[in-house]
């Protein structure tokens, strides 16, 4: 495993909201006994900022209208469920069933069991195309203020379908579409670099017609500012935010570790240690 990185404390820019979500993920994972922890920890600030910047997320499970968050990298469902609980969209009590046989909170989001996840995913590469349809539907219905955000993994970009969607989105002038790539540099079998790197992502999508931004994926305030500002940007250009993240972020012995993908659970002492570190990072920040 990768040893503790001295970069960590500066890369988690303290925010109570993200700190709570990170701890909730760790505790839910520990109670369940298993789960895709590393990917869930790398999207903590992304999810926190997305839900904070969404205007109409409460409608996620009901009407055809409203903002949508599509978790294309469905294996990070643990992170999504905890974010939905923190937002009050699902009850916290539901998290206790995560990992149990027959739970509505499956290892990958299943909208037929839990409509609040908005879109069923798990087979990688499918979410962005669905996002295009959602965004185009908002436009057709005359609801230009609605935004569809799709969270993708960098490993997921080895698939072909996201590239089909990346070609189509600028052509459809979907300025109400936001793609966020959780660029943690790892996939299940190893580093992106070792397995199949996706080089030049920013340049490639910019050349296709996307408005491309890069951000520290663990700086809640930077992401929130960017996601909010992008609502007012060019209405004819889809937006890509490449969020530089750390898989397993927040747990020193899991950070940037391939083993963080599906690790053993943390014991109570380890979670307590992580909690103290997160709190102290927050107070340093203040």
């Amino acid at each position: 495993m990768t040893p503790y990185s001295h970069k960590r404390a500066t890369q988690i820019e303290g925010d109570l909201r993200a700190a709570r979500l990170r701890l909730l993920i760790l505790r839910t994972h520990a109670a369940a006994g298993a789960g895709h922890l590393g990917s869930s920890l790398s999207i903590v600030e992304i999810l926190s900022a997305l839900y904070s910047s969404n205007l109409h997320h409460a409608a996620q499970d009901s009407a055809q209208g409203g903002d949508r968050v599509v978790l294309s990298k469905g294996h990070a469902a643990l992170g999504l469920y905890c974010a939905l609980a923190e937002e009050g969209i699902i009850p916290h009590a539901a998290l206790r069933t995560f990992g149990q046989n027959g739970s509505e909170l499956e290892p990958h989001p299943n909208e037929t069991l839990l409509p609040q996840v908005a879109v069923s995913t798990g087979s990688l590469g499918q979410g962005l195309s669905i996002g295009l349809g959602l965004a185009h539907g908002s436009r057709l219905a005359g609801r230009d203020e609605e935004r569809t955000a799709v969270v993708l993994g960098d490993g997921e970009l080895n698939e072909g379908q996201p590239w089909e969607a990346a070609i189509a989105a600028p052509r459809l002038r979907l300025g109400n579409l936001l793609a966020v790539v959780d660029a943690n540099g790892l996939q299940q079998d190893g580093t992106m670099e070792d397995i199949m790197p996706v080089n030049g992502l920013a340049d490639a999508w910019a050349a296709l017609g996307w408005q491309v931004h890069s951000a520290n994926g663990h700086d809640y305030h930077e992401l929130l500012g960017l996601f909010t500002a992008l609502r007012k940007e060019d209405p004819a250009k889809p937006k890509l935010v490449i969020a530089r993240t750390i898989k397993g972020c927040g747990v020193p012995f899991l950070e940037n570790a391939v083993e963080s993908h599906y690790p053993p659970v943390l014991d109570a002492g380890e979670i307590d240690l992580v909690a103290r570190m997160i709190i102290s990072a927050g107070s340093d920040d203040a």
Partner: protein
């Protein structure tokens, strides 16, 4: 401008009747005959280019915003290339999406195994929540497309590539299954034809009648869910069933009919495409290659009846 085809007209009519219908093409608009719809409803039409997986996913998103997308490509490219997208983005959430696949079986346009959809039904009948239709003429098509679009769930329509007839047989008494020829009390077999081979099998039934062999002929348009009761009642009277289909033996309508009739314990014969990739050729030649042209079918059925019920 050439006269609009049966499919083009029917699609445009369905679009007129329901303003939430939205047509998605994947780079085969001219083959799939969506031009008239595009012309009439430009704001409810899009061609996403040669990218079937994206087209299916796009339809999934659009359906979640209250539209009823109809996605077009050749059957193989929907059934094979986009299967995982169809399963997870369409079938699982049970969205109101209709997939229309052209170039089915012997009615392919001489393009060979990449285009000739001979196993597409197996893929779609296997998916939970899916309705599967194979209309043979314009009357069936209008009913099937209207039912599919109005069902609120996912459907697959399997079309021939060219020359869908306006009407085969009577226009009334249509439905998921219909009795096309009534052999009466002397009926010696219940013929069941799935979808597009109807005109061929009607010729067969006529030749058999000329030879003094009466048969009941049923036509199945909706393969899933299958309505078996009238076929079963007929087969009990005639004593046997012979099922004919423009699809490989596995997973199509013939297999569904056999499974549904099995509890009755009657002798059943299936005459389908072989379990093989077929060579490229025109429909008439391909049907003969597969033993599914009227002449060969007549000979095969006569031989089957001569063997009697074992």
């Amino acid at each position: 401008m050439p006269e609009a085809s049966v499919y083009a007209t029917t699609l445009a009519d369905v679009g007129s009747a329901d303003p939430s219908v939205f047509v998605v093409d994947a780079g085969l608009a001219s083959s799939m005959q969506t031009g008239l719809f595009h012309e009439r409803f430009p704001s409810r039409y899009i061609n996403l280019g040669i990218a079937e997986a994206n087209a299916v996913g796009f339809a999934s998103g659009l359906a979640r915003r209250g539209f009823k997308p109809i996605v077009h490509s050749f059957g193989n490219f929907l059934a094979r290339r986009a299967h995982d997208q169809v399963a997870i983005s369409v079938a699982l959430p049970c969205l109101a999406i209709t997939l229309v696949g052209g170039s089915c079986g012997v009615f392919d346009g001489r393009n060979g195994p990449s285009h000739l959809a001979g196993d597409d039904l197996a893929t779609f009948t296997a998916l939970p929540n899916f309705r599967v239709y194979e209309p043979a003429d314009a009357v069936d098509l209008a009913l099937a497309l209207t039912e599919a679009v109005g069902s609120g769930g996912p459907s697959y329509l399997r079309l021939r590539r060219h020359g869908m007839p306006t009407a085969i047989g009577k226009r009334d008494n249509r439905g998921p299954v219909r009795l096309v020829c009534d052999g009466g009390s002397a009926s010696r077999a219940t013929l069941v034809v799935i979808g597009n081979l109807l005109d061929e099998v009607m010729v067969t039934a006529r030749i058999l009648a000329d030879d003094g062999i009466g048969v009941d002929l049923y036509h199945v348009v909706r393969i899933k869910p299958l309505e078996i009761a009238p076929i079963l009642a007929s087969a009990r009277r005639s004593g046997r069933a012979i099922v004919i289909e423009n699809h490989v033996p596995s997973g199509g309508g013939a297999q569904a009919v056999v499974a549904a009739l099995a509890p009755a314990g009657l002798p059943i014969t299936t005459l389908t495409l072989p379990d093989a990739f077929l060579p490229a050729g025109d429909p008439r030649w391909l049907a003969a290659q597969a033993g599914l042209d009227a002449t060969t079918l007549t000979a095969r059925i006569s031989a089957e009846l001569a063997r009697g019920v074992s």
